[in-house]
């Protein structure tokens, strides 16, 4: 069951929308913030709140990269690998990260500390290569600085 606070936040989002289902994305973000991911029973609960079939919620969840149906690491580290970043070393940075953490993009380290990934255009082309750790951008990176950032994560 989603918490009372999350449920209230979902209802507040629904109130903003002309059609209830317009608030589905916002609701899924809120619920994922609470659980860390979206297991089937949670998707079903959201479907119930919105009067949708669980499969309709599943379709939306699977469409967006930012929604996860599997448990994630405590921190998300996502390297931008769009064209500009790749030209300035984004892909090289990703390769180094994979070797350093011992996981491939899309996987989570064994200690459950970091989920590594890459994504397309985070809108910081002028400061490539860059990556996102949870909700924070880290710009103009080199390997030394990246290592420091990673080691600082608990």
């Amino acid at each position: 069951m989603v918490s009372v606070a999350t449920r209230a936040a979902i209802d507040a989002e629904i109130a903003k929308m002309p059609e209830k289902r317009g608030a589905l994305l916002a609701a899924l973000r809120l619920v994922q913030a609470e659980y860390g991911y979206l297991p089937p029973e949670v998707m079903e609960e959201v479907a119930q709140i919105f009067g949708l079939h669980p499969t309709e919620v599943f379709e939306v969840v699977s469409f967006y990269n930012h929604f996860h149906v599997q448990p994630r690491g405590r921190h998300e580290v996502n390297v931008c690998t769009s064209l500009t970043c790749s030209l300035r070393g984004g892909r090289g940075l990703l390769r180094q990260l994979q070797a350093y953490l011992g996981v491939r993009a899309g996987q989570t380290t064994e200690d459950g500390r970091i989920s590594l990934g890459h994504e397309e255009c985070l809108g910081a082309c002028g400061n490539a290569p860059m990556l996102r750790i949870d909700d924070t951008y880290h710009l103009d990176l080199d390997w030394v600085r990246t290592q420091q950032l990673l080691d600082g994560l608990e």
């Binding site: 089937p40 079939h53 499969t55 309709e56 379709e59 699977s62 469409f63």
Partner: protein, 499 residues
């Protein structure tokens, strides 16, 4: 009414329809006006995703999809000019970019829209060099359906079907772009009473029924119109016959009866036709008390003798009949005719009931329950009381529904009779008390008319010959009558002979 012109022909169509709907209602879609389409289905909501049905509408700069373009008065449409052809070729090329070339092992081959339209709009050579996307070839969506991800063209027909017809919504299109695929919700397989319809409406070979998969190439099938015998709805089916065996039922469109659907239970009743427990040989009870195989002539004579003896001893009132709700109207008329000629008025029909739903499935589990009532056969209770009271000596029985637990539950109550003459398609415990057993034909083997629960009389031809010698019940009864020197004035029987 609005007037539209399609390829030079004027049509009057109803307001509020889209172009494809209007042409379908006129009965000309794909029968004169060929607008290829994948995602549009007459009984499902409009999706507009496949882009195959593009046509040119005069006065509209861009091509329009016929499935989602409302008809307007004075609309002039071109469905096959060069511009339309080019557009469809483009759609086909993109659809085939990732489609596997596995037609030789694909069950849909021969009845595949992708194949058909590739002949009309496909390129001889591919312009892409990239490898085709490799996905899963065998995904179990549920107990009845197997899914091939590579063949799917993402038309969403199956998804819409599950949401709109049974309302169960097990299927979803998940992921996006070229990773899109059909999936079920985690832990919730495709499981509803109509699940196998998704294989019928799949325009390609992505969804196949586990039952029919890899069984027979469809071009070896002779598809004969038939009626499903699962319940009193009387759903129209195609009986698919190959090598003198029924291989499948698929729904045959009838908007008055079953639209384009068929329930899974009814669909599987085709297996009864070739079942190993068919009664395949006439038999009579010998001196040792065992049923002994014999010829039809002998069995008929034996049946006539039992009836003759009983009538001579105690009068015609001691001969009674149990009709079957599985028999055709012609069989039932012959039974009434025989009883009338004998002068017996003792009869009834057991109709087994079961679960029903609001879509197709009716509670009465026989195709001709209503026909039996119309023919004058009532509840069997009075007849059974008379049997228990010793007022019946010889009983003609069609089918074995009488020993269903909703009626007698066992054949013991009939054991004291002097004669039980059984005309039946399948073996049952009723044979234990029968003195004469005569094999009967299944509806698909004899054709005829059955009357559905709404009183709709539906006629079908015979789809195949039985694997053994058997004649329809009507003919068996006529032979018994002539052995008794009775003439049964049966309209339908006379009609059949003159036809």
């Amino acid at each position: 009414m609005l007037r539209i012109t399609v390829d030079g022909t004027a049509y009057e169509v109803e307001e509020g329809l889209t172009l494809l709907q209007a042409l379908d209602d006129l009965g000309v879609l794909m029968k004169g006006v060929d607008i290829p389409h994948y995602c549009w289905h007459p009984k499902l909501s409009i999706d507009g995703s496949c882009r195959m049905c593009q046509v040119e509408v005069e006065g509209v700069p861009k091509l329009q999809i016929a499935c989602d373009t409302p008809v307007r008065d004075g609309m002039v449409v071109h469905t096959g000019n060069e511009r339309v052809r080019k557009a469809r070729e483009g759609v086909m090329e993109l659809m085939l970019v990732n489609h596997p070339l596995d037609c030789p092992i694909c069950d849909q081959a021969g009845e595949c829209k992708l194949q058909d339209y590739a002949f009309d709009y496909g390129q001889m050579h591919t312009r892409t060099r990239e490898p085709r996307r490799a996905l899963k070839k065998r995904v179990d969506l549920g107990a009845t359906i197997v899914f091939d991800q590579e063949r799917c063209i993402l038309c969403r027909r199956c998804v819409r079907f599950c949401r709109e017809i049974p309302g169960t919504s097990e299927l979803a299109i998940t992921q996006r772009g070229d990773r899109s695929t059909v999936e079920t919700f985690p832990g919730k397989p495709l499981e509803n009473d109509y699940s196998m319809n998704v294989a019928d409406i799949c325009p390609v070979g992505a969804l196949t029924t586990r039952d029919f998969r890899f069984k027979v190439r469809v071009w070896f099938l002779e598809e004969v119109p038939g009626i499903c015998t699962g319940c009193s709805r009387g759903c129209n089916v195609h009986v698919g016959v190959a090598d003198d065996q029924v291989r499948r039922y698929t729904p045959r469109r009838n908007d008055e009866v079953n639209d384009t659907w068929l329930c899974d239970y009814g669909r599987m009743t085709y297996q009864e036709i070739g079942a190993p427990d068919r009664i395949s040989e006439p038999a009579v009870r010998g001196d040792a008390g065992q049923l002994v195989g014999t010829t039809l002539e002998q069995a008929v004579e034996c049946a006539a003798q039992l009836m003759r003896t009983a009538v001579e001893k105690e009068g015609p009132g001691v001969v009674a009949a149990l009709a079957s709700a599985h028999a055709t109207n012609e069989d039932l008329a012959a039974l009434r005719g025989l009883l009338a000629a004998l002068g017996s008025e003792t009869h009834g029909v057991p109709i087994v009931t079961g679960p029903a739903d609001a879509l197709l499935i009716r509670p009465e589990k026989a195709a001709n329950a209503e026909g039996a009532r119309v023919a004058g056969f009532g509840e069997p209770g009075l007849l059974l009381d008379k049997i228990r009271g010793g007022g019946v000596r010889v009983l003609i029985v069609l089918g074995h529904d009488i020993i269903h637990e909703q009626f007698l539950g066992s054949p013991e109550a009939l054991a004291a009779l002097d004669g039980v003459i059984l005309l039946d398609t399948h073996r049952s415990r009723l044979e234990q008390v029968a003195h004469v057993v005569i094999p009967a034909r299944h509806l698909a083997e004899k054709g005829g008319t059955v009357t559905n629960f709404e009183g709709r009389v539906q006629a079908v031809p015979a789809a195949l010959e039985p694997a053994f010698e058997a004649v329809a019940e009507a003919q068996v009864l006529a032979r018994i009558a002539s052995a008794l020197d009775l003439s049964i004035s049966d309209e339908s029987e006379r009609k059949r002979e003159t036809d």
